[in-house]
């Protein structure tokens, strides 16, 4: 059977200007396969401008790729229509970063949950709709009686974010794209939301793509990770391997910069060699080369992915002796 969602050599370029056309590659040549047979949690990590949100938008079908194709169950999503399109919309759901902005302050939270039920005709009677809402809220660890009938401003950020997850859950999705779901939530509530996401994957068989710049939570929640930098895959693989022994200089920089809540692990033990770039320099070779402390002559040409071990790959000439990995085969390496 065709996989749930498949990206084939997808590139997204944003252009602006009419005469002096300038274009900006947000994502270049990404291939990814998401299978529904084995639900997993996959992290897409990177700093701002790495293309992680563009990837989320592409997966959700909000924007179309400049090059390449996205397939949903074997069909190009740009050609989907009618019933098939509805089923794509229902099965691929999203949770966004800001739990404050997605609510309409004039409606009670019931509205957010009842609209999808209505639109997708999931319930025949009001009582049935209410049951579905109750079920979804309970699944994310909220008490329906506390929540239904309340206005968004009466709820905390953590509660709101869990309602967003519940909204997605009402539709029984196969894939949930969570774009920075915890970055605006207090540290003490983060744990609850992450736990909710994990139970969705475990108990409801939902595959989750967790998009974040926070590698600590990524490490705790996901099985595999893809590290993006300026639209390209820098390193990918099993999350334990990548976080505990990062190979690509960029991943190393990211992991060295995490402020660990651990006094024995001081920040700045490794000097910050690669600072943030000043101005938008253009390179034809490796995207990270201008910041890379190990930059070599070879780096003028774009490095392919080299397979370092069974579950880890990096796009860096430091590993030039390892076998090359075709970008299309990236997903085969990611554990589920």
């Amino acid at each position: 059977m065709a996989p749930l969602l498949e990206l084939k050599n997808v590139t997204k370029t944003y252009s602006r200007g009419l005469i002096n056309r300038t274009s900006n590659t947000a994502l270049s040549n990404i291939s990814l396969t998401i299978d529904e047979a084995e639900p997993t949690i996959m992290t897409v990590a990177g700093e701002s401008g790495s293309g992680k949100t563009t990837l989320a938008m592409l997966l959700l079908g909000f924007i179309t790729p400049t090059e390449g194709t996205i397939f949903y169950k074997g069909k190009d999503i740009s050609t989907l229509h009618g019933e098939k399109r509805m089923s794509f919309r229902r099965e691929v759901q999203a949770v966004f970063q800001d739990p404050f902005a997605v609510f309409n302050p004039f409606y009670t939270v019931d509205h957010l949950l009842s609209v999808p039920i209505e639109k997708f005709k999931l319930a025949k009677t009001k009582a049935q709709a209410r049951d579905k809402m109750d079920e979804a809220l309970t699944a994310v660890g909220l008490r329906p009686d506390d929540i239904l009938g309340r206005f968004p401003h009466q709820l905390s950020g953590g509660q709101r974010q869990r309602i967003n997850v519940a909204r997605a859950l009402v539709l029984k999705p196969r894939l949930l794209i969570a774009d920075e779901p915890v970055s605006m939530v207090d540290a003490s509530l983060r744990a609850n939301i992450l736990e909710t996401l994990r139970s969705l994957q475990r108990d409801h068989g939902v595959t989750i793509i967790y998009i974040t710049h926070d590698l600590t939570t990524a490490y705790h929640i996901s099985k595999s990770i893809i590290v993006l930098y300026r639209g390209g895959v820098m390193e990918a693989g099993d999350v334990d391997t990548v976080i505990k022994s990062p190979q690509h200089p960029y991943t190393r920089l990211l992991i060295d910069s995490i402020p660990w809540p651990d006094l024995s692990r001081r920040w700045g033990e490794t000097e910050l060699k690669a600072k943030e770039p000043e101005g938008g320099e253009k390179t034809t070779g490796c995207r990270f080369a201008p910041r890379c402390p190990y930059v070599m002559e070879q780096c003028q040409t774009p490095p392919p992915l080299f397979q370092i071990n069974r579950t880890q790959t990096a796009s860096c000439f430091l590993y030039g002796s390892k076998p090359e990995l075709e970008p299309e085969r990236l997903s085969e390496l990611l554990p589920v």
Partner: protein
């Protein structure tokens, strides 16, 4: 060395339609020159109100209802409005949350910096002011060219460093930074924090870092103050806080931190932060506390020192120790003098 900042019994309330919310309820702390204090707590615990109150920037329906904020030897609360305006930036500077997005998009960075200097020193020569701006930019590790740039030409980290440069223009004794890195990624975050560290050494000022990222606190500050529902729960050195937190809320905060050892274990803090309009009687944390006793539901615990260290805790669990201690010091002091 005398403390550079003393906050004594600071009280702030917001008067809303549904009643009075005590956003700050008797906060007391001291800060020595060159010290870095981290102020942590959940959203709504009063961290930002604390910063605004120290700057006397609380707007109605909020009101500062009492207390003192002493910087050096000046009590800011006793100053006239004009005196306070002059003290901001020159005695105490504040980098608000999301400051980097408040740079004027149609003014060059330099013009905005000059504005700040002119507001304090109208007589300063153009050349002198410019030189001061350029050296401030250099001390936050930015190129001099930034002076002539617009905000949109800078990245988030650079904009945040411009805000830090503005805050040090008048060489304040205290800098309050409210979540300076909350919208930045880890690499830029580290660079901004290193910049703050660097200017702190250069100016010898004290820094209050407000945030909820305990990781950042562990790496940056000397002392941590934990705030809950408008009160300080614990004030300890960073070492004591991470190795041996005393207050049950601080313990829960430390426990909820992710680390590389315990993969997949999430320990949140059960329950929700209370509404400031309807605080539980007694200790505000009692409904969520695992060690709750009868006394917690009736009496608000005092913020007492916990000898032999300098840390302070507001919890009935340690009431005995604190009393015993304060008795022993009371008897000990006269003998010391002899």
């Amino acid at each position: 060395m005398p403390p550079v900042l003393q906050v004594r019994d600071l009280q702030v309330s917001y008067y809303t339609d549904s009643g009075r919310a005590r956003a700050l309820d008797g906060v007391t702390l001291e800060l020595n020159p060159g010290e870095k204090l981290g102020l942590v707590g959940e959203s709504g615990s009063g961290k930002s109100t604390m910063a605004l109150a120290m700057m006397r920037m609380i707007k109605p329906p909020g009101r500062i209802e009492g207390g003192q904020v002493i910087v050096g030897d000046t009590d800011l609360m006793a100053l006239s409005e004009e005196g306070m305006r002059k003290s901001r930036l020159s005695k105490i500077a504040y980098i608000p949350q999301g400051a980097m997005n408040s740079l004027n998009p149609v003014m060059r960075i330099g013009a905005q910096m000059i504005d700040a200097i002119r507001a304090h020193n109208p007589s300063e020569s153009r050349a002198g002011a410019q030189e001061r701006c350029l050296s401030a930019l250099e001390s936050v590790d930015l190129k001099r060219g930034v002076y002539k740039m617009y905000a949109h030409e800078l990245s988030g980290g650079m904009k945040q460093r411009v805000c830090i440069a503005i805050s040090i223009l008048m060489r304040p004794q205290v800098i309050i930074a409210d979540e300076p890195t909350s919208a930045l990624d880890v690499v830029t975050q580290r660079q901004v924090m290193e910049t703050l560290d660097h200017i702190q050494h250069q100016l010898g000022c004290a820094i209050i870092l407000i945030g909820h990222d305990m990781g950042l606190m562990a790496q940056f500050v000397d002392k941590v103050a934990v705030m809950y529902a408008g009160r300080l729960m614990e004030l300890s050195s960073v070492r004591e806080m991470f190795n041996d937190p005393k207050h049950p809320y601080a313990q829960a905060l430390i426990r909820s931190l992710p680390s590389l050892e315990n993969k997949g274990v999430f320990q949140g803090i059960p329950g929700l932060a209370p509404s400031l309009l309807r605080l539980p009687s007694g200790c505000a944390f009692n409904p969520r506390c695992t060690f709750v006793m009868d006394v917690c539901k009736s009496t608000v615990p005092a913020f007492l020192p916990l000898p032999p260290s300098e840390r302070r805790v507001a919890c009935h669990l340690y009431a005995g120790d604190a009393e015993a201690m304060s008795l022993s010091t009371r008897t000990a002091t006269p003998t010391e003098k002899v």
